[in-house]
Amino acid sequence: MGEVYVVTSGKGGVGKTTSTANIGTGLAIVGKKVVMVDADIGLRNLDVVMGLENRIVYDIVDVIEGACRLKQALIRDKRYSDLYLLPAAQTKDKSALTPEQMQKLCKQLREEFEYVIIDCPAGIEQGFKNAIAGANKAIVVTTPEVSAVRDADRVIGLLEANDLRNPLLVLNRIRPEMVKRGDMMTIEDVMEILAIEILGVVPDDESIVISTNRGDPCVADDSSWAGRAYRNITRRLLGEIVPLMKLQQEKGFLGRILRFFRFGS
């Protein structure tokens, strides 16, 4: 039986879909059999982030309504043969699913796959309840901003109330130069406030935008900084002990002098 992870955050736009795509792809790179489920009915996006938008024939609602078989709706990734996507429906809304139906679907998927990664919609209403219903583990994504951390705290409470204990934290979009200046909360600050285990830190990196433009998750890109962060996250999910990434890049002696006088950053 595989593991079912739900990737959630409460607040929108903090990087749930990007994290889902990169964690799913990262696990597939090391040879795991993975399916990513887009639970954001009506606002599907995981397909474009993965670059698979042209291959959609059936979606999750078709599967649940019995309009097609599960196998027919699963889209195989173009790069990794053991990576699949179950896309969300774009024309329906979240009331097209119930938590019970999601539980049944996840049960089916985990018999077939080693990892099921569910991309949860923003918010804490019906869509959230559907997305977490079939999961047995949770990953909470947040950014070091007050609104995102507050929502993450709320979501952690709701997850625990739904028996998803010990969620793992991904702290996204860290800007080392701002942290250094004291204008952004550090990993330690956020961990102290939320009091949950950290799965990884992802720097605010242009390569995320570029890889999303291309529909090619940056976890596969050796030169990408954020990609390296997601590779570390994948390894930690597999039980390896990997130290948190050093976010301050040394730029040499001259760089340090310039930075001291605020000419560089």
Partner: protein, 99 residues
């Protein structure tokens, strides 16, 4: 700390963010557990009833934040209870019984 901060002694905004978050989250978290607060309220009423008649209807309890000492940004949650007493005759009865 770079030159700018040293010269202007600028207050780093992350500290403000953290302090504000801590206060907001205590409120959020206690709001989530209204049920527990209600249970606590009932138990307090039960215990107090041994000693005095209290106005259970007007009883008001809540958890608030109080700064610790004079260190800025350190808060401690405090349970505040406002309990109107109708009659404290029972208190004497209890004392007599103990003796």
């Amino acid at each position: 700390m770079d030159m700018f901060n040293i010269l202007w002694r600028r207050n780093p905004s992350k500290k403000t963010a953290k302090d504000r978050l801590k206060v907001v989250l205590v409120n959020d978290r206690t709001n989530c557990s209204n049920q527990v607060l209600e249970m606590l309220k009932n138990d307090i009423v039960k215990a107090l009833n041994i000693y005095m008649d209290i106005d259970a209807e007007a009883l008001d309890i809540q958890i608030t934040q109080t700064p610790i000492g004079d260190s800025q940004g350190e808060y401690m949650p405090v349970l505040n209870a406002n309990i109107p007493i109708k009659n404290i005759r029972k208190f004497k009865e209890q004392l007599n019984r103990r003796e």
